[in-house]
Symmetry: C2
Subunit: 196 residues, 2 copies
């Protein structure tokens, strides 16, 4: 069975891929708004762990809507959630037997409720799988430590390809550097360099 | 890392074990109230798929409480839930680094909420993992079809070792055969005979 997994190059989506690898033909798929070339970091990370990689085009209007939502809110959560839902809809239309992402049990955002999952499955005739949703933060960290070589650093310095890098650029363009600092408080991200 | 997985011999808990097998030293653990020898079916299923198996003693008083709850309710859900929570508490105290069960995204019972999971983890210093909670019914069925040889049949005819067999015996003892038919409507169960 062919499975497409939304992939950022970070530890969560990489671990999700490893969990599914015995059961599906996994392709790592990175959504791309056409704003930056950050998807190339995800491609490199995918190659470092030996998975096939594809890029899918997302709708730049969805990114611009998300940026306006984040500025209005003063925090990124709802914007990130909207972009993730957009990416899942696009991925679900790609013809895979199953689609997946790296959302964890303890994540605040993005989240995919059981009702959203069933709606995706019914509308697109696809299985939606969130292999980390039964793992807490501690369990994920321990598995990553044992399986992957990872770089950790401040979000703006780590090369990866979640939606954040492209959203930061659009936010800076529309609202200036101060808006970026206001919406995205400093936090650490990870980038997978390969198997341990 | 040593992981103990609550095991009935059915397809869900067997698939959960296979998902975790690359990442943990998995022992399949069957809870046993001392009422019947049905745990032996789970041991045989565990051997057929090549996993270590252990039995843990559960508290017969918990089973008797569950039976009274089911009779009062007229359906088994809350009684089964209470017994599952009791079994997880016992398993969490066994000294494994992580514990797990076969609960699925679409299960109505038993369920383990995020708050219950975090409480188990905090009180027992253990990771609680539900590897199938990110998989819907269709995805589980397709993975089982591809990985396992399974017998399906009416619940009362299938040899397995969830709590149901022992609860049925106690229910019959206390309230008669009619109470069993009333509380447990006819439904099919599965028993794993080995890898496909």
């Amino acid at each position: 069975m062919e499975l497409g997994l939304l992939y950022s190059g970070g530890k969560d989506s990489t671990l999700a891929a490893l969990l599914l690898d015995d059961f599906y033909d996994v392709t790592l798929v990175t959504g791309h708004f056409g704003v930056t070339d950050d998807w190339e970091h995800a491609k490199a990370a995918a190659e470092s762990v030996g998975f096939a990689h594809e890029r899918i085009e997302l709708d730049e209007a969805a990114a611009r809507d998300a940026v306006e939502k984040m500025v209005a809110d003063g925090f990124p959560r709802n914007g990130i959630q909207a972009v993730h839902e957009h990416a899942l809809e696009r991925l679900a239309a790609e013809g895979f037997d199953a689609i997946a992402d790296g959302t964890r049990r303890d994540d605040r955002v993005p989240t995919v409720s059981r009702a959203q999952a069933q709606s995706l499955e019914d509308r697109h005739d696809v299985d939606y799988i969130s292999p980390l949703s039964g793992f807490g933060r501690g369990a994920v960290d321990r598995l990553v430590d044992s399986a992957l070589s990872v770089t950790v650093g401040p979000s703006e310095d780590i090369p990866r390809a979640d939606y954040e890098a492209e959203l930061r650029v659009l936010l800076r363009e529309e609202h200036g550097e101060g808006a970026v600092a206001e919406v995205f408080p400093a936090h650490d991200q990870t980038y997978v360099e390969g198997p341990r």
